[in-house]
Each structure stands twice: as C-alpha cells, then as structure tokens.
C-alpha cells in the first residue's frame, strides 16, 4: 500500500510516518510542498493524508480520489467529517491509532475486490506457464495480446503468492492442472 502525506509541517509528517511504520508496516512518502507531490507521479498512491485547504486548492486531482483521502483537522474542527475520514491532529494516541486503523482497513477492503479463485482464463494461462511456454507463445495460443497475458500473470502472482515460473509449475502439479513439468 502506498500512502502520501502532504502537509507543510515536517514534524507532523514525521510523526505520521512513525505511526504508519510502527503499527501498519507501511512507509508513507512525505511531501512538505504540494508542488513536490505533484512532480512525483501523484497517481501512484493508494491513499492521501492532508489538510482540507490542500484538497480544495487541487480539487481537480483530489475530488475524483475522494474515497482514498484522510483529512487532517485541527482545533476541534468537525466540519469535514462528512466528506472523508478525519484525523484530528490533537487527539490522543489511542484514538489516532483507531482512526488510522479504520482508514487502513477501508483501503484494504477496496483493494480486496479481486476474487481469490482463479478464473478459467487464468487457469489456462497458469497451465501454459507451468508447461514452460513463453508469454509470446501463450498469447498466440490463446489468441490474446501479450499485455493481457502479463495482466493474467500478475493476477496469478497476486492470488497465489507465487512469482517464479518453477513455483507456478509446482503449484500446477500439486493441484492437478498438469501432470508433469516436461510435457510441453
């Protein structure tokens, strides 16, 4: 999960970084200046933590990404709560963590929309990968583009937790998709 923290307050940014690293095993990217953030491929992030004024100033970018924003608030300001989850920066640590936990969970649910079972197409790709065919050959056999093959392979790795060709081959054998590695 990639998180961007965009506020002009260095200590606040470092504090958030510490909380994310310590409790969520995520290292957010920190930006003191919104300009630096926009120079750094802002689309790459799954979530954004920032104050409402930054969101308003760059609303063209942030409004379509509303579901991935957490707003930092100060001085008991509750006006933004209906817009997005908020993080009042003066709250106690325990409730800060609770809010962050809910936010991270919500992001996790959005990311989890991928069904865990292999689709019929993914199964076909898996069999061919396991038999030792190259991406180009798989694309030709299934009549799909190389990019589609690559995206199926990416999903296979995400769903199975297995990256290498030989790992996929053994998985395929363990599950009866192929009977033997050398039957290409």
């Amino acid at each position: 999960m990639r998180i961007a923290v965009v506020t002009p307050h260095t200590l606040l940014n470092l504090g958030l970084k510490h909380l994310f690293q310590r409790y969520f095993d995520v290292t957010p990217a920190l930006y003191n200046r919104a300009e630096d953030f926009f120079d750094d491929t802002p689309e790459q992030f799954d979530a954004y933590l920032l104050f409402a004024d930054t969101v308003l100033k760059y609303s063209d970018f942030f409004l379509p990404r509303k579901s991935r924003i957490m707003l930092l608030t100060a001085h008991g300001d509750q006006s933004s709560e209906s817009f997005a989850p908020t993080l009042p920066i003066d709250e106690e640590k325990e409730s800060l963590l609770e809010r962050l936990e809910r936010f991270v969970e919500q992001l996790g649910r959005q990311a989890e929309s991928l069904p865990q079972e292999l689709s019929p197409r993914e199964t076909e790709v898996l069999k061919l990968v396991a038999k030792g065919f190259m991406n180009k050959e798989i694309a030709d056999q299934l009549n799909i583009s190389i990019n589609t093959v690559l995206s199926h392979r990416k999903n296979l790795t995400a769903k199975l937790g297995i990256k290498t060709v030989s790992g996929l081959s053994f998985y395929a054998m363990m599950n009866g998709y192929i009977s033997d590695i050398d039957n290409k």
Binding site: L160, G161, I162, K163, T164, S166, G167, F170, Y171, M173, M174, N175
Partner: protein
Amino acid sequence: MALINADCKLCDVILNEPSIIPVINRFGIILGVGDKSIRTVCEEKNLDCEFFVTILNTFINEDYFPENRLKSFCATQIVDYLTLTNSYYQQFQIPNIERHFNSLISQSDSDNNNLELMKQFFEELKKELLSRIERDRTSWFPAIRAAAEQLQGEYYGEHIRYDHDEPDSLEEKLDDLKSLFVIHLRGEYDLNLCHGVIFALYSLEKDIKQHNRIRNRILRPIADAMLKACHDKE
C-alpha cells in the same frame, strides 16, 4: 533492535538475537562466549572489530546498510566472509532443511504427494544455489583476489558504481516455497516437522538476503571497479 557497538557484551547481543549464532560461528566464535565485550572477543580471535560489528548490524537490522562503510573494507575481506557464508549453506543449512524435509515426508500420510513435489521444488532451488556457490569458488572470487593482488592497495574508488538491485531468483523461489507451505499446503502431515522445515527455510532466506545485499550492492560494484582498474593498467 538498536545498533550494537564494539563495547556491547557479545552474550547480550546473542541473547536478544539468537539468529546471529551462525554468523558468529563463521568468524570462529562458538557458544560459551562468557561476558566479554565484542572488542575483547575480536582482539582474542584476531578479528577486524569494525568489520565484525558492521556485519552483525546489517544482519540484525534489515534496513541498516551503511554502504560507504562497507565499501571501505577491502574486497578480499568481503570475499572471505561470503566464502564462509557459502560453505555454511552447503554444509549446514541445506542439509538441515533436507533432513527435516525427509522426515516430514516419511512421517506424513503417504497419499500426500504435495510434500514430494515441494521437495522437488526445493531440490531445484538447491541446485541453483550450489551452482552459484561453485561459480563463486572457481571463477568470481579468484578473479577478485587476483585483481586485489595486482592493484596492491591502489585507489580504484572512482570506478565504483552501483546501479540497482536485480530481482534475485533464489530469493524469489524461497519466497514461493514459503507460499506453497503457508498458503497451499493440503492433506495430513506432521505439524512439528513441518514447522521445522519452514523455520529452516526462513533462516536460510534471512541469511541469503543479507548475503545478496553484500554481494550485489557492495562486492559487485567494488569488484567491477577493481577489474576495470586492472584492465586500464594493462
């Protein structure tokens, strides 16, 4: 864990972080270390204390990697250390995984061919690791030693370049093997022996990751620079 220094007691470090036991073994230190400081132990064993402490710190803290300090050590010292880690894989860690794996298979339901297949996957990984060790022993390490001899301490620092980490196929395969166990294991099997195999795989993986960081980010750039300097000299 916080960084350790030469004045820490070696026993405290081991008590906190027993995974370094194989690392200290490589330096000829065995358990029963008493309560001496690292500095004293190094003096007694005639070890370069700064090198020893740096290796321990990079082993304990995955995100600690002082590239500049590591580059200041001489290449042959790094080659010596990596040679020791290689022979540790060969003589202890691989046989240890195999021993556990074999008992796991023999004690588990014989209809369960999952484990046999996973063992075959491990054999493939083992073959890859052993052939890398063989290439190190017969060609790469001797070439570095020869270059060091030829340069005799001459400066070659301006040639040191570090590009980026390539994905390492050994690390990726170990990762996959762990996934096969953790996510995809089926059937009846002996729980304790299974834990034994996984634990042994994790400890090999941790060691190989540290070996690879030193190998790819330190030794390779230094070796390339040395070989280039030798080449320029000729």
